[in-house]
């Protein structure tokens, strides 16, 4: 890499998988850097633009994966890409999930829709090192069954000991599971609440209600973490776009602890 921290490294797309009707998971490789689950990278579509995406593959993988929902010009261009195309990446950026805190503790992951992407590397990492951690439970909700990501991996996760609770806002087809927002299934995992580390990611509204509900259910405030979303241009605290209340989401986040989120001013805080 050159002098400037803003210059992405070109890598090739290895695989593209359609995750849900509007989301694709792209695999690029070989990975240009190591990372901690929960960190993000800036992905460049040359000639179109750059945007931040959570890395959704496990750190032990040789490749990098990003689950990308079609939204603006960059994501549309990625959706139009095919294997072999060149894109640019730089990273890893931001603070990942607090792996150190999680040692020997129970862990609850709460995800909503595309928000499961930053939780997946954590989940895979925990499974790979399950002897170091306690029980793992996952509460995952989406608007409809077809929008649940990584559905084909659910079976494997459960086989490896994950307590998986799913819910959808609107049922469709042969959906037999829970119908309702994700807060309706938060009471299902039977974990040591006072000691459990909770990691959550999803739309701001969801995070807001999940955090409230978690505290109500008896989870400890200092053990709750959420990954937030923001507009970023540099990823390294220079461009000013994600600057909120003395903090940069890109540098001090995207993972924030409950009390930090409470301190964030209106705008970025889900409260």
């Amino acid at each position: 890499m050159g002098l400037s921290p803003y210059v992405p490294k070109p890598v090739k797309i290895v695989r593209i998988k359609e995750e849900t009707p509007d989301t694709k998971t792209i695999t690029i490789g070989p990975k240009p850097f190591d990372f901690i689950p929960g960190q993000f990278a800036m992905v460049t579509v040359y000639g179109v633009g750059e945007a931040p995406f959570s890395i959704c593959s496990t750190p032990s993988d040789n490749n990098l994966q990003f689950s990308i929902r079609k939204m603006g010009s960059v994501t549309t261009a990625i959706h139009e890409a095919s294997p072999g195309d060149e894109i640019g990446v730089r990273g890893p950026y931001g603070r990942g999930w607090p792996l150190g805190e999680m040692r020997k503790r129970d862990i609850l992951l709460v995800g909503g829709g595309i928000g499961f992407a930053p939780l997946r590397p954590l989940l895979l990492h925990l499974l790979e090192n399950s002897n170091k951690y306690g029980r793992i439970a996952v509460c995952y909700g989406a608007r409809s069954p077809s929008l649940l990501m990584y559905r084909d991996e659910f079976g494997e996760w459960m086989e490896r000991g994950v307590e998986l609770y799913l819910t959808v806002d609107v049922g469709e087809g042969d959906w037999k599971g829970n119908v309702g927002v994700v807060t309706t299934i938060l009471d299902k995992p039977n974990l040591n609440k006072a000691e459990t580390i909770v990691c959550t990611c999803g739309p701001p509204v969801m995070i807001k209600f999940v955090l409230k509900k978690l505290v109500e259910l008896g989870y400890s405030e200092e053990n709750i973490y959420a990954s937030l979303e923001s507009k970023m241009r540099c990823g390294i605290g220079k461009c000013g776009h994600c600057h909120f209340g003395g903090k940069h989401v890109c540098v001090d986040g995207p993972v924030f602890r409950y009390d930090e989120i409470m301190e964030l001013p209106r705008g970025i805080s889900p409260f």
């Binding site: 261009a77 139009e80 195309d85």
Partner: protein, 634 residues
């Protein structure tokens, strides 16, 4: 990531000596947007295209000959997402002497098109628009009836909208037709009754079109049916009601010359042959109700609204005649014996008020009759500026009718130019007139005076001799010009069709699309788009029918690419409205909307919108700007 495939055609190797294909492909390959470049020797050949095995999502640049030649071939053979055509043959190879020049022009044009193809969005193919295979013909004159019959006979339902109680129009009022002097109603009558009998034709008399929505293939037409106060289902035309009716009214059919009762049947050959009440004269005495055995009369009848769903509309509402009162020098309406040619037709007709004897108001027979041509036409003034087409022949016909009835009569025709251009007009009309001793005087009389004995004196200057003279006659017949009918402008506005400077309906193109209007799916026939005679009106009725039938048979309708307003952006400032030549943009609340049936896709609106809130396919400024920057970049 969007990239393009460039197909370079050597046109059977003939372009190789004009354009340096190696240089072109080497230069183009520098462009990161180019996926691959294929040099082929004939893109117009099906085999060539097939052998390329192009992906379905490919964006292709076809650099070859004129797109007019290539477009059909490529669009049929490849399922590419986007195809851009660059004419490197007629626009580069064949106009440049220098190979270097031609090659660099080729590179520039291609770089522009590559940029364009990358930003183009694949056209959205609709599944084909719905077509309601039923037609509406507005106006039941000869053009409308002919049209309705032809469509109906092809097997499609036709709604025939007629404002009067009976179909027939002007032709039904005429005595004889030129040049053969056939009985007019004898020709039209059978057509009318055939239309009445045809189970595919629904005649809706006393009705008018008040609203139209939709587009070609699927119009929703709102028709207002005025009450006749007689239930046509029940009336059997026995006429008992008219017998007892105490009130008389002037009869429109007889040009107000022969009074009829307030409850009446328009004329003997009327279709439908039903009695109707003219509420303007009816005193609501109820006598008719008391004699009607079928209880068909309802004086409380109210207008009804119908909504009809049709795929095509033919406008054949005909036109009105000039009002001669607007030329005060002829004293029409003031001098008893100055009459119009329509009045003449009724007077000379055997079923007319005088039983076919040419009598003056005072009962004296008219022995000396003068015809004045071009009343309300071919002059600047109150009438229309152009020739009324029918009246030279009509007046000659009428002159001959006079002589047929009365060998001693003396007839004078004041003409400007005698226009006898139709089949048989010269021989059957003009020559016989001359033989019969009809006097033609080339003049537009300046005044009609009345002599004390009730005769009329025509004051004129013979423009052949330059002599001013006066001519005493018993009767003067004014040959009236056509004028757009009174409600035509309103109807045109309702339908969305445009009118020309004279006020007649404007054709989509006077030569290429003579019977189409600017609204796709609305056709025009007969005198409502300009003066015509019976033959031409009938021809146009049939021709319009053919257009309707071919639309119905075509399966689906392809609209041209039309402009679309992006609602989220539109501010409703209305700057697009005055530039639309087709009046296709209308206000819709705070924003504007494009009427797709009127839009022709010229794009004048999209370039007047300051924030590109109107789009038209891939013709946004972004695509054009990119194309230009691709062309101009060094």
């Amino acid at each position: 990531m969007r990239r393009v495939t460039v197909l370079l055609c050597t046109c059977g190797s003939t372009l190789l000596e004009k354009i340096d294909f190696n240089k072109v492909s080497k230069e183009l390959y520098k462009n990161p947007l180019v996926k691959k470049i294929e040099i082929v020797d004939g893109l117009c050949k099906a085999n060539t295209v097939k052998s390329l095995s192009l992906d379905a999502n490919e964006r292709i640049i076809a650099a070859a000959c004129s797109s007019r030649l290539l477009e059909a071939v490529l669009k049929n053979l490849s399922n590419a997402k986007v195809i851009e055509f660059v004419n490197i043959r007629e626009q580069c190879a064949w106009v440049c002497d220098d190979k270097e020049d031609a090659s660099s022009k080729t590179i520039r044009l291609l770089n522009g098109s590559i940029n364009r193809a990358v930003r183009s969005n694949p056209p959205q193919y609709s599944d084909g628009l719905k077509i309601v295979r039923e037609a509406m013909v507005i106006g039941g004159g000869i053009a409308g009836v002919r049209c309705a019959l032809d469509i109906a006979n092809a097997g499609y339902r036709v709604y025939l909208i007629e404002k009067e109680p009976s179909i027939g129009g002007i032709m039904a009022q005429l005595d004889k037709t030129f040049p053969t002097l056939d009985c007019s109603i004898c020709i039209e009558g059978p057509l009318l009754s055939e239309a009445g009998r045809n189970k595919n034709i629904t005649i809706i008399p006393n009705s008018e079109v008040v609203g139209v929505k939709g587009r070609v293939g699927d119009f929703r037409v709102l028709v207002k049916v005025n009450p006749t106060y007689v239930d046509p289902e029940k009336c059997n035309g026995c006429g008992e009601c008219a017998n007892v009716c105490p009130v008389y009214q002037p009869n429109k059919y007889d040009v107000d010359l022969k009074p009829v009762k307030a409850i009446y049947c328009p004329f003997a050959q009327a279709v439908p042959l039903k009695y109707v009440i003219n509420k303007e004269y009816c005193i609501e005495c109820g006598l008719c109700m008391s004699v009607c055995t079928r209880a068909a009369i309802n004086l409380e009848d109210k207008p009804k609204m119908l909504e009809l769903n049709v795929g095509a509309i033919v406008v054949a509402v005909g036109s009105d005649l000039f009002d001669p009162r607007l030329k005060p020098e002829y004293h029409y309406g003031e001098y008893d014996n100055v009459i119009t040619n329509m009045e003449f037709e009724r007077i000379i007709c055997a079923s007319g008020p005088t039983g076919g004897v040419l009598l003056r108001k005072d009962g004296k027979p008219a022995k000396r009759v003068a015809f004045i041509q071009c009343v309300g036409s071919r002059e600047s003034g109150p009438g229309i500026g152009e020739c009324s087409y029918y009246c030279c022949a009509a007046s000659m016909k009428e002159a001959r009718l006079i002589l047929e009835h009365d060998k001693d009569a003396k007839v004078f025709i004041f003409y400007n130019e005698l226009r006898a251009f139709g089949k048989g007009w010269e021989d059957l009309l003009y020559r016989r007139c001359l033989e019969d001793g009809i006097v033609f005087i080339r003049s537009r009389p300046s005044e009609i005076k009345r002599s004390p004995n009730g005769n009329l004196i025509v004051v004129y200057e013979d423009t052949l001799t330059g002599k001013r003279s006066e001519l005493e006659v018993d009767m003067v017949v004014l040959a009236l010009g056509f004028k757009p009918s009174e409600n035509l402008a309103k109807l045109a506005a309702t339908l969305g069709v445009s009118v020309d400077d004279q006020g007649f309906i404007e054709e989509a193109h006077s030569k290429a699309k003579p019977l189409e209007t600017r609204v796709r799916g609305i056709y025009v026939a007969g005198t409502c788009h300009g003066p015509r005679d019976i033959v031409e009106s009938a021809v146009e009725g049939s021709a319009a029918a053919a257009l309707v039938i071919s639309l119905f048979r075509s399966g689906n309708v392809k609209l041209p690419e039309t402009a679309v307003v992006l609602e989220s952006k539109c501010t409703g400032c209305g700057r697009c409205m005055p530039v639309c030549q087709y009046d296709a943009i209308v206000r819709d609340g705070e924003k504007v909307r494009v009427l797709e049936s009127l839009c022709n896709g010229c794009g004048a609106c999209i370039s007047s919108c300051p924030q590109e809130a109107i789009v038209l396919g891939d013709w946004g400024i972004e695509q054009l700007a990119l194309q230009i920057s691709g062309m101009l970049g060094d």
